[in-house]
């Protein structure tokens, strides 16, 4: 199987060229620009108000830092949502959708292993999503700093965590596309992301209210939906090495639980990715197209 990486790359290039030639990239750019404009405006307004010393009895730097991190939390959440939508849209037609149109068959009859077809699609979505996350997180961070907030803890790790999350979303997308047509796959994958986010919030509430069973069960759901665990990891990387009120502000923020982007999380995420790709490959081998 020496040619396997080459085949994966070939399939990924095809998928990326599709992304480039459809309208999706334009839509994504326009909406992202809109989000960044809104974010920048919000950041300058909020941090500007803080400068005028309007709040509380905390030292003003601490308040500004806390507010800055909450804003970054919003940024990470929004980036994850937008990148996930991108990943869903690049993968939702992979199997059934393209087979119905007759686009997939010419590819499948070539001497290319089905696992390369699946992996190539996931890779394409991950590359696109990773680049997207890097650009948007950098923009968000620059906007936050120039508005007077402090820079986040570990920016590259935030991007890495989000890229991993996007990869798992993409793998879910490809797997579901072996069962459902494009629209139904898009719907299912998007709803799955919402469920993951909801579980993350519930787990946080469970923790705050000391409800062990809620915390455990919501935690299991977020663990299974690996993209969510990685999103929480990205959120956690925001406050890496940040102490005091600012760190606390994010931990209790409304964007879900935080966790460490640990080696264990990396290993389980890679395992989940491998399992999803294996399942999708197995399905693709059994389908009559």
């Amino acid at each position: 199987m020496t040619s396997w990486p080459r085949d994966v790359w070939l399939v990924a290039l095809l998928a990326l060229s599709e992304l480039r030639h459809r309208r999706s990239l334009l839509v994504v750019s326009v909406i992202t620009a809109g989000f960044l404009a809104l974010y920048g405006w919000g950041a300058f307004e909020i941090l500007g108000d803080l400068d005028q010393g309007a709040t509380a009895d905390l030292p003003p730097e601490e308040t500004a830092r806390g507010a800055g991190f909450i804003l970054m939390g919003i940024g990470v959440f929004a980036t994850f949502s937008l990148a996930s939508v991108l990943a869903v849209f690049t993968t939702m037609n992979t199997v059934k959708g393209e087979a119905e149109q007759g686009l997939l068959q010419p590819l499948l009859v070539r001497p290319v292993d089905r696992s390369a077809v699946v992996s190539g699609r996931v890779l394409a979505a991950t590359v696109a999503g990773g680049i997207y996350c890097a650009i948007v997180i950098t923009a968000v961070s620059v906007l936050t700093s120039s508005a007077g907030g402090s820079p986040p803890g570990n920016l590259p790790q935030v991007v890495l965590g989000l890229t991993g999350a996007v990869a798992i979303v993409a793998a879910f997308g490809v797997l579901v596309s072996t069962f459902l047509g494009s629209a139904a796959t898009g719907l299912a994958a998007t709803m799955l992301i919402s469920v993951g986010f909801f579980a993350s919030l519930v787990r946080q509430i469970g923790e705050a209210t000391d409800s062990a069973s809620v915390e455990t069960w919501a935690g299991r759901v977020t663990d299974v939906l690996g993209f969510n665990a990685l999103y929480e990891g990205a959120l956690g990387s925001l406050t890496d090495g940040v102490t005091g009120i600012a760190g606390l502000a994010l931990q209790l923020g409304p964007f879900g639980q935080q966790r460490d982007l640990s080696t264990a999380l990396t290993v389980t995420s890679l395992a989940e990715l491998a399992i999803l790709i294996a399942l999708a490959t197995w399905r693709l081998r059994r389908l009559d197209l």
Partner: protein
């Protein structure tokens, strides 16, 4: 010599077919295509032609039996490396040019033919001037010719064409006939599924007729047509002797001359493939329900 294609007891029952009261899409088909041979696969709609072709190129999993492509089991990469396929319903990415599509498939098929092969194939299908034309702005007929070129990349031992002339005008069809002749001369084999009898009659060395998933007749178009009598051109006009065969001609001429007739011409008549086809299909219950 290894057959280009050999199917043995090939069976397919699609999932859920039993529940819907439908029988096997293929009920145990034995078919052989020799190297350099052009075999026409004929049959009414729903007979199982596409199912047979798709099993051979690995898109559909057989429920039983085997299909070997140049000795390699269908569905393996080794088999895929030895065949080319043009689907009945296909689409290529509309933003690709003819040249780019062929390049992509050269990579997928690991053909080292380079630009020389691309130019040759485009010329062969009459698209020599259309290398830079995008698939999206091609007529359906042009796309079908491009699809034919695509199926010939890497000089596959077996070329599978499923209704390849459905979108072609008479000129396009004549072109496909020439291409098939060329392939056969080079020693490549063709399995051509069609319901256009006249077309198959002109190009096929052998014809296999299937109905309701069963092979119901097989042979050269001439043999299948059967004897149709002998026609003599006499001074008094033409006279048809429907029961005579080729072997009877010399004796019959002697008899006619002895009777004082002047013989201007003799023609042995064959039943048409169409007659044979209609006879066979009617005997076997006609179209699938």
């Amino acid at each position: 010599m290894t057959a280009a294609l050999q199917t043995t007891e090939l069976r397919k029952q699609y999932p859920g077919a039993q529940r819907k009261g439908r029988g096997d899409a293929l009920g145990g088909v034995d078919l052989t295509v020799a190297p350099g041979e052009i075999v026409g696969l004929l049959g009414p709609n729903g007979a199982g032609k596409s199912t047979l072709v798709k099993i051979v190129c690995g898109l559909v999993r057989p429920s039983g039996g085997t299909a070997l492509i140049a000795g390699q089991e269908a569905g393996t990469r080794a088999a895929a490396a030895r065949l080319g396929y043009l689907a009945e319903l296909f689409r290529y990415p509309p933003w690709l040019t003819a040249e780019a599509l062929l390049t992509t498939h050269q990579r997928l098929a690991r053909s080292g033919g380079g630009s020389g092969e691309r130019a040759e194939l485009l010329d062969l299908v009459g698209l020599g001037d259309a290398a830079a034309v995008k698939v999206g702005s091609m007529s359906k007929g042009m796309q079908q010719r491009l699809g034919l070129a695509q199926s010939l990349i890497g000089r596959p031992a077996l070329v599978l064409l499923d209704e390849p002339t459905s979108a072609l005008d008479p000129v396009g069809r004549a072109l496909v006939r020439d291409v098939l002749g060329e392939l056969s001369a080079r020693g490549q084999s063709v399995l051509l599924s069609s319901h256009l009898l006249a077309e198959v009659e002109q190009v096929a060395d052998r014809v296999a007729i299937i109905a309701r998933g069963q092979l119901i007749a097989e042979g050269s178009p001439r043999d299948l047509g059967g004897a149709g009598g002998v026609e003599f051109e006499l001074a008094s006009g033409t006279s048809l002797h429907p029961t005579l065969t080729r072997d009877d001609i010399p004796d019959e001429i002697e008899r006619l001359v002895a009777r004082g007739e002047r013989v201007y011409g003799v023609r042995e008549l064959r039943g048409t493939l169409e007659q044979a086809y209609l006879r066979a299909v009617r005997e076997h219950g006609g179209e699938a329900p």
